[in-house]
């Protein structure tokens, strides 16, 4: 019975009390909903977009007919075509479809700012035997018979050199239809391709949201200059009652293949590997996005507290009428719950929309660092939605706990006497806790990275240290407030305004402490990220200065994509290095290899003059000058490894390793470790001519040319570009600018989060000041009666806000120095293996400080103006 009465009371409270305030102050309610929605939206969108970016990585057959079962390739991700029958013979007579594949990257000029710009759209182009792909119709369920279906019939032809099939997304983006022509850069050629068909999305599932070009396999092989090999063979087991037995039989047969010449894996493990490879990256994104939920909690807490303050008199009346405190608490929690549900639901919609915008950015990073992804749109995912919704609702309810407790503990007499209420978190009153947290954080920072799987490390200790230091700094800075009156003693003598402002900190309220804690966290994180990006930029600039010394840099378009396999033909690079204007040139042959089950890169450097290691920055310097083109005394091939490689494989100077190549396993000795910020998979650097022989591939990936004195790089660039429109040729200056531009793009999301964090902190400041002044409105009236002008009140409130912000700023800056250390020496080093030089961005931090103080001044001024007009009985 009493439960029933309780429920009725809570509902009545909601109707008469909460709903009335919703109607009375719709702007505040909307703002609160917006806070919840924004937090959930950021979290949801980051999760969705990173999921899409990773799921965009998939094998072709997954797109057309439900997926292959095994993927077979060879050293250097290449299977010589003359070895294909060997694979069939090993698997005979099992009823398998073997689909050789070639994969390239097509740059679509005209879709970016310029054809050779990094912004030009790049899409995967897949070469598949268009006839053999049709056979998959019988490999899958009869209801899915139709595969590789196109919009109009009679368009799939074989043996045609320049025909391409496109997905609907490409058709839409380029505004083309079958029969039209599109320009695409492939390898080092600019091609004019005939659109043969648009692949039907119902059949070609991936095409719905993905940009793909498909060509007949030999045609693409020819265009890429790799007639002698395919990239992989996908093995499809037909459906039927013996599928499971066949899977086992295939595994047994593949195990019989020569492991030095064949590399195979199941499609699931390929997908898992793409998932694992990007796990750390996605977790980093998730952690960053979770911050938005955290600041959301902080804001909601502030806003709910403000609401409690506003409605305290009503609460007092209800209590005096016999309402039980637990009903009041329940009603407030219910209000938080409703707020959480509504806000989170809105957040899901907003998040889904944001994800569509974010996915291409995230996909770009995944493309650049990890694997090729074709994601262009994020699909709705109910699991992620449920998680974001749950987190949003839980966060709102948690944020409402404290104000609910305050509301329930409000004494009627306190309200009637218009007494202030010291809200806040009691933990902030314990400075010892702050010191303990800082010490614990120090211990966390010493923790080694957690090995999620071979080659994937997660700096758990670094994240825990950052969290404990953030909370510790927040606790300590909250306790700094009490020193304000002492610090500003002299200033306070100058006038009543100063005295009034400073006096507010004699016994700092919980709300003031919470506000400063929020500011410390926001400033600390923003400045910490500033330190990281600045250190990164300084290091990369130094690296560029040291390593990019040639006049012209030549690469195929789209080379920044980690999965790009386009190369410069031998004829082209030989022509370029034989140009009489070229004094010396270095040609790079890159081959993806797999070592200990992890993908990495073998880089062969071919130099027209004796190669020198002077351009490298050493992490572990070789004992004597390196001569890559001469075998060592013991017959080993000399090589250098990048820092990421060293961290990934736990190797260093003097170590020996076996490199799998189509020419068999090769013994290589590491002579030194050099710094490289190009990729996190690491690289093994060796003589280019030898590498090209090992992999039977003389095509190059890039070329750096130093011109003879007197030759004009711009002129040569123009001449080469005219002769080779498929090549991206950059002058030294342009390349440096490009590298830095990419670098800044990479950190764009960091800047955005920084700004969101600061904005949220100031919303918190405004709400806190508002609550404080609501609490003190009687005091403000008294001040007015004592002769305080409105402008004096405004000045006192502004000053109070500024002092709060100043403490937050100073403590935040100190915190940022420690966070910068963590980000550079622990989190980044453990995640990517890159050594960065710690550099404090004086200008950046000064701008941030001025910005923070300006924002504080404006926020406080606004609240001050409102306070100056506040009457004793006014509620909002």
């Amino acid at each position: 019975m009493s439960t029933l009465i309780g429920i009725q009371s809570v509902l009545l409270h909601l109707k008469r009390f909460s709903w009335r305030h919703v109607l009375k102050a719709p702007a505040t309610t909307c703002a609160l909903l917006a806070v919840v929605a924004l937090g959930v939206a950021v979290f949801f969108s980051v999760r969705l977009s990173s999921r899409a970016a990773v799921s965009g990585f998939q094998l072709f057959t997954q797109s057309i007919s439900g997926g292959s079962d095994f993927v077979v390739t060879g050293p250097g991700n290449a299977v010589p075509v003359d070895r294909l029958p060997e694979l069939r013979n090993v698997l005979d007579p099992l009823p398998l479809h073997l689909l050789p594949m070639v994969e390239g990257t097509a740059t679509l000029p005209g879709t970016g700012k310029a054809a050779d710009d990094f912004d030009a759209v790049q899409v995967p182009i897949l070469g598949i035997d268009l006839l053999a792909a049709r056979n998959l119709a019988y490999a899958r369920d009869r209801t899915q018979y139709q595969t590789f279906e196109t919009t109009t019939s009679d368009q799939i032809r074989i043996g045609v050199a320049n025909e391409v099939h496109i997905t609907e997304l490409i058709a839409k983006r380029l505004q083309v239809k079958p029969g039209d022509f599109i320009d695409a850069v492939l390898g080092d050629q600019l091609l004019h391709l005939n659109v043969a068909s648009v692949l039907i999305t119902d059949e070609f599932q991936a095409g719905k949201n993905e940009a793909l070009l498909v060509m007949d396999l030999p045609a693409l092989q020819s265009l890429l200059g790799q007639e002698q090999h395919v990239d992989r063979v996908e093995v499809v087991i037909p459906e039927g009652n013996q599928t499971a037995a066949l899977r086992q039989a295939v595994t047994d047969r593949l195990n019989k293949l020569n492991a030095a010449q064949w590399i195979w894996s199941t499609t699931e493990s390929q997908r898992d590997s793409a998932q694992t490879m990007t796990a750390a990256f996605r977790l980093n994104l998730t952690i960053l996005s979770a911050l938005s939920v955290l600041v959301g909690i902080y804001l909601i807490l502030q806003a709910m507290e403000a609401a409690v303050v506003r409605r305290r008199s009503e609460i007092g009346i209800l209590l005096s009428m016999g309402y039980e405190p637990k009903w009041i608490r329940a009603a407030w929690l219910m209000e938080s719950l409703l707020l959480g549900i509504t806000g989170s639901a809105l957040g899901l919609l907003l998040g889904w929309a944001l994800a569509q915008l974010a996915v291409r950015g995230v996909a770009q990073t995944v493309n650049a660092l990890y694997v090729s992804t074709t994601a262009e749109a994020a699909s709705w995912n109910s699991g992620e939605a449920l998680m974001a919704f749950g987190i949003g609702v839980a966060a709102t309810v948690i944020a409402g706990l404290l104000p609910a407790r305050d509301a329930a503990s409000t004494q009627p007499i306190q309200v009637i006497r218009q007494e202030g209420h010291n809200g806040g978190i009691y933990l902030l009153d314990a400075p010892w806790l702050g010191f303990v947290l800082l010490a614990v954080g120090g211990l966390f920072s010493r923790m080694p990275a957690l090995d999620l799987s071979p080659g994937v490390r997660l700096p758990v200790g670094g994240y825990l240290a950052a969290l404990t230091w953030l909370i510790g700094a927040a606790v300590l800075s909250a306790n700094l407030l009490r020193f304000i009156p002492g610090l500003f003693k002299r200033a306070a003598i100058r006038g009543a305004v100063w005295r009034v402002a400073v006096s507010q900190f004699r016994q700092p309220s919980g709300r003031q402490k919470l506000t400063v804690a929020g500011l410390v966290v926001a400033v600390g994180m923003a400045a910490g990220m500033e330190i990281l990006t600045h250190s990164f930029e300084r290091t990369v600039s130094g690296w560029i200065h040291q390593s990019l010394k040639a006049d012209l840099f030549v690469a195929v378009k789209g080379i920044e994509n980690a999965s790009n396999r386009n190369k410069i033909s031998e004829a082209t690079w030989r022509k370029l290095i034989d140009d009489p204007k070229v004094e010396r040139a270095e040609v790079g042959h890159f081959f993806p290899i797999e070592l200990r089950g992890l993908p990495t890169m073998l880089m062969g450097i071919r130099s027209t003059q004796p190669w020198s290691d002077e351009k490298l920055i050493w992490a572990e310097k070789p004992v004597k000058p390196v001569q890559l083109d001469r075998p060592l005394d013991d017959g080993c091939t000399p090589a250098l490894i990048s820092e990421s490689f060293a961290v990934r494989y736990q190797m260093g100077r003097g170590d020996e390793l076996e490199v799998p190549t189509p020419a068999g396993n090769q013994s290589v000795r590491v002579l030194g470790v050099y710094a490289d910020y190009g990729n996190e998979r690491g690289a093994l650097l060796m003589d280019g001519a030898l590498a090209a022989r090992w992999f039977n591939d003389l095509r190059a990936v890039n070329l750096a040319a130093t011109l003879r004195p007197g030759a004009d790089p711009d002129q040569v660039r123009e001449q080469w570009t005219a002769e080779h429109p498929g090549l991206a040729i950059r002058t030294n200056r342009a390349l440096r600018e490009e590298v830095l531009k990419i670098f800044h793009q990479t950190f764009a999301v960091t800047h955005a989060l920084k700004i969101i964090g600061i904005a949220v902190a100031f919303s918190g400041l405004a709400l806190a000041l508002f609550s404080l002044l609501m609490d003190r409105r009687q005091e403000l009236v008294t001040l007015r009666e004592l002769g305080f002008q409105r402008r004096d009140i405004m000045a006192a409130v502004t000053l109070e806000g500024l002092l709060l912000s100043l403490i937050g700023l100073v403590a935040g800056l100190l915190l940022s120095l420690a966070l910068g250390y963590l980000l550079i020496y622990v989190i980044n080093k453990q995640s990517f293996g890159w050594t960065l030089a710690y550099a404090v961005p004086a200008i950046g931090l000064a701008v941030l400080s001025v910005g923070v103080l300006l924002a504080a001044a404006l926020t406080s001024l606004g609240i001050g103006r409102w306070a100056a007009r506040l009457k004793a009985e006014e509620h909002e």
Partner: protein, 371 residues
């Protein structure tokens, strides 16, 4: 839907070549036309003849397991030339030949019909050797192993696998006057038609994960041509019978648009010694006694047939051709040609007198443009 696509595709890809300088008769596109009195050399002529447009190796047979349960099977390897002039070097992904193949199994007692089609270009995964019988289409292979013994290895999706040894029980025969089998008035509508009318089959059928030893008899055609149908012809009805008395019978009716038999339709008796006795369409009667409509293609096939005529010894015959299953239709998903090809028994006076395979084409659409 796409039924016609690949048929049309083949046509668009048949590149028109210049007329060869040799004196052999050729089609306008440059493909050879079968000539009379061919001087076959075996085993070479069991292999491929890429200078002809179309070629197929066609095996149909009846099997029984140890429990006397019955199966019918069909294994067909087709070759289509896209140019009469092959490349000088091997291309792993060639464009000179297309290879299509059909496998089917009729599980009579289980009332299940399994079938699958394949379409591949010449190259690393599909080929037809020109020196001997050595055919591959994916994991399906047909090879001569020893003498004229052949080995067939194939399967249907992940459901069925089979590995059969095929041993001639009768010598091979060559149909047609002067070894050229005429298909129509057009002189180019003809073929070299080499047949093993009775092959002993033994091997293993793998179904539901169980290896089932089977034995039986089969018929094998190897037909080489550059045009299989004359103008106005839309399809054919074909029947091969292995009679219980060790003789065989082969009959085909070439139908025109109105359903009338072409005068070049033929019935041939093969006696146990391999002697042929052929008669024209005016000396036998093929009539429908029942039909079946495909739920997949909507085509109605006259699968119950009466065949009447006179034996070489002058005695009349009146056969009832009874399919062992109604649904033995191969839906042409890839090749664009749907047809009915099924195991049948032959009855005379309500007594079984032979095992047969019957093929009914051109009932879902005309084959005129495709072959």
């Amino acid at each position: 839907m796409n039924q016609r696509r690949y048929g049309l595709m083949f046509l668009t890809l048949w590149l028109v070549g210049a007329v060869c300088s040799d004196s052999l008769p050729r089609t306008e596109a440059g493909f050879r036309i079968p000539t009379t009195h061919p001087e076959f050399t075996f085993p070479r002529d069991h292999g491929s003849h890429p200078e002809f447009l179309i070629e197929w190796w066609y095996i149909t047979g009846h099997l029984r397991n140890a429990d006397n349960q019955r199966y019918g099977f069909q294994a067909t390897f087709f070759r289509y030339a896209m140019t009469p002039y092959g490349p000088e070097t091997f291309a792993p992904f060639g464009t000179n030949q297309l290879f299509m193949a059909h496998m089917a199994l009729s599980d009579i007692d289980g009332n299940q019909f399994y079938h699958e089609e394949r379409l591949n270009r010449d190259g690393w995964d599909a080929k037809a050797d020109t020196d001997d019988l050595d055919l591959r289409n994916g994991n399906w292979t047909l090879r001569r192993t020893d003498g004229e013994t052949m080995e067939l290895r194939a399967g249907i999706r992940a459901d069925i696998e089979f590995e059969f040894q095929l041993q001639p029980l009768q010598p091979k025969v060559f149909f047609g006057k002067d070894s050229v089998s005429r298909k129509g008035a057009d002189p180019s509508a003809c073929s070299w038609y080499i047949t093993f009318p009775r092959l002993g089959v033994s091997g293993t059928l793998r179904q539901d994960g169980k290896n089932i030893p089977v034995t039986g008899e089969a018929w094998m055609d190897h037909e080489i041509s550059s045009s299989q149908l004359g103008h106005e012809q839309v399809g054919w009805d074909w029947l091969s019978v292995r009679m219980a008395d060790e003789s065989e019978l082969m009959v085909y009716i070439l139908r025109d648009v109105a359903g009338n038999p072409d005068p070049h339709s033929t019935l041939v008796w093969i006696d146990p010694a391999g002697q042929l006795h052929a008669v024209g369409s005016d000396q036998f009667e093929w009539s429908e006694s029942g039909s079946w409509t495909s739920p997949d293609t909507g085509a109605t096939y006259p699968i119950d047939v009466r065949l009447k005529g006179v034996r070489p010894d002058g005695s009349p015959f009146d056969f009832a051709v009874k399919p062992l299953m109604r649904n033995q239709e191969l839906v042409g998903e890839l090749g664009g040609i749907s047809y009915w090809e099924g195991a049948c028994d032959i009855y005379e006076n309500d007594q079984p007198v032979g095992e047969a395979y019957m093929e009914l084409t051109g009932y879902s659409e005309s084959l005129e443009d495709n072959l």
